[in-house]
């Protein structure tokens, strides 16, 4: 295979992958879904540490026992994603439990704490945020973008110089 043909194939693959991935991310953002990286195995085997769970907003009245929801801790210190084991419609609270835990979570959660109901999850990809510090990632991405931009400029000016 010619070198240039192989190069074209690679570039095409990269372009298609990027477009598809970007389209997927755009779709998620437009759908209003929120995503979280799963840090523990409390909901194993449905989703394990390193997965990404996607949740969408749901009215409290639409929630049922057995639904999986992402919930903010009462003190706002974080988020957990567990299964609803009971609903107190009068007080608008839910009881939750991790599938892999032995009993219910120690506190009930109010409707205002519920971020959304489980939509779907993807494995492994959550490790990206769990393992790497966020500022390092931002720096890396900016560096990559800058490198690409500069490379492009250099190539353009080279082409211009060569006529």
């Amino acid at each position: 295979m010619k070198k240039s043909t192989f190069k074209n194939i690679l570039q095409n693959f990269f372009i298609i992958t990027s477009v598809l991935l970007f389209a997927f991310v755009t779709f998620l953002a437009a759908s209003g879904a929120k995503a979280f990286a799963v840090r523990t195995d409390s909901m194993s085997p449905l989703f394990k540490e390193g997965s990404v769970v996607f949740v969408r907003r749901a009215d409290f009245s639409d929630l049922k026992a057995g639904n999986i929801v992402s919930v903010k801790f009462a003190d706002g210190s974080g988020v957990f994603t567990h299964r609803i084991t009971g609903i107190d419609a009068e007080n608008k609270t839910i009881s939750t439990k991790g599938d892999n835990n032995n009993s219910d979570d120690p506190e009930q959660s109010g409707a205002a704490q519920i971020i959304g109901r489980y939509w779907f999850s993807l494995p492994v990809i959550g490790f990206l945020s769990l393992r790497i510090k966020s500022d390092a990632i931002v720096f890396f991405l900016i560096a990559v973008a800058a490198a690409l931009f500069i490379t492009r400029l250099v190539i353009q000016s080279k082409n211009k110089a060569n006529g």
Binding site: Q11, V19, R39, T40, P106, S129, A145, N159
Partner: protein, 346 residues
Amino acid sequence: MKKKVRGISLVMSAVMMAVSIGYFALLAPTTAWFYQDEEKAHQFTFGDFDVNQTPQSANIIAERLIFPAATRFADTDEILFDEVAHVIEVDVENRGDLPAKLSVSVAGAVGSTSYGNAGLKWCVINKTVSSFSQEPSSVEHTSQISKGVYKSAIENILTSEMTLHKYGDFNTSDISAAESEYESYNAGAKTILNQNNGAPILIPGKGAGGSLKKVYIVFWIEYGEVSELLLPESVTKLDDYGVSIQLTAAPNIEGADLTITNNFGASATVLVSFGNTTYSGGYTIGGSTFIADGGSITLAAGQSATIHDIALGTFYTVAPSSGSYKCSDAHGTITSSGAAVEISAT
């Protein structure tokens, strides 16, 4: 032209890829119930529970309990959070002739407000558990042990001849039933037990040869109050969570004189004063049981005892002999020189 379009496409693709990667790389975590944040995970101070000593009472043990992290008693697989159990080892010596009943209570310290509720649990074990000597290398205090180890030790005790003191009784013949009872206990009202809760521990008199007993007071935390303590400033919450451990000997027949030494070096002496108090239930000296005040007891060989029949207001002594013995009114020491003797009120 074609080259230009391709070039622009590549750059645009790179930007889209970077944005997509950035989306996944910057996701917030969803955690278990008790995590705080990643940076703190390995140095997580759940809360410091200060065990205060009240100067007026010499029989209160004071110590500071530091729990590196905490999780449910039954959950033993969360690696970061298993160093939770604090074991206070107390040596109790009864220098008196008669057995004493040792009661353990954990009370809120002066000034504590909402303490005593969810979070801190404790129980008393008076059976030696060899695995209590195991310590994870990361703990700061020698009394801290791995909760996983502790749980195994407790399970071993529950399935053997254990005496686990709390309010209520465990079913010790069935580990799963015992665990279920324990879970009910943990899920129940999380109030500090007072002295009237929990069965007292019998400390035999010195004549019975078993006056020195080890009593283990085990503390751990269940999540429930965690959120209030999920702060790096939890050390400032000391005053709110102070507890005191009080060991007392139940009013007993004269002769009980307990010295209580805990493994932190603090010691206290409890003198059981002779009081006009009756007690119910069994008392054991060398295997025999008091029936009631004024009733009959049997002493094993070599034991000495002084008996006060509070109801009748008389003292009894027994001189060794064969057969049954008539008690005199003199107050003295009863020593059996050989065969067991029986004492009856007349």
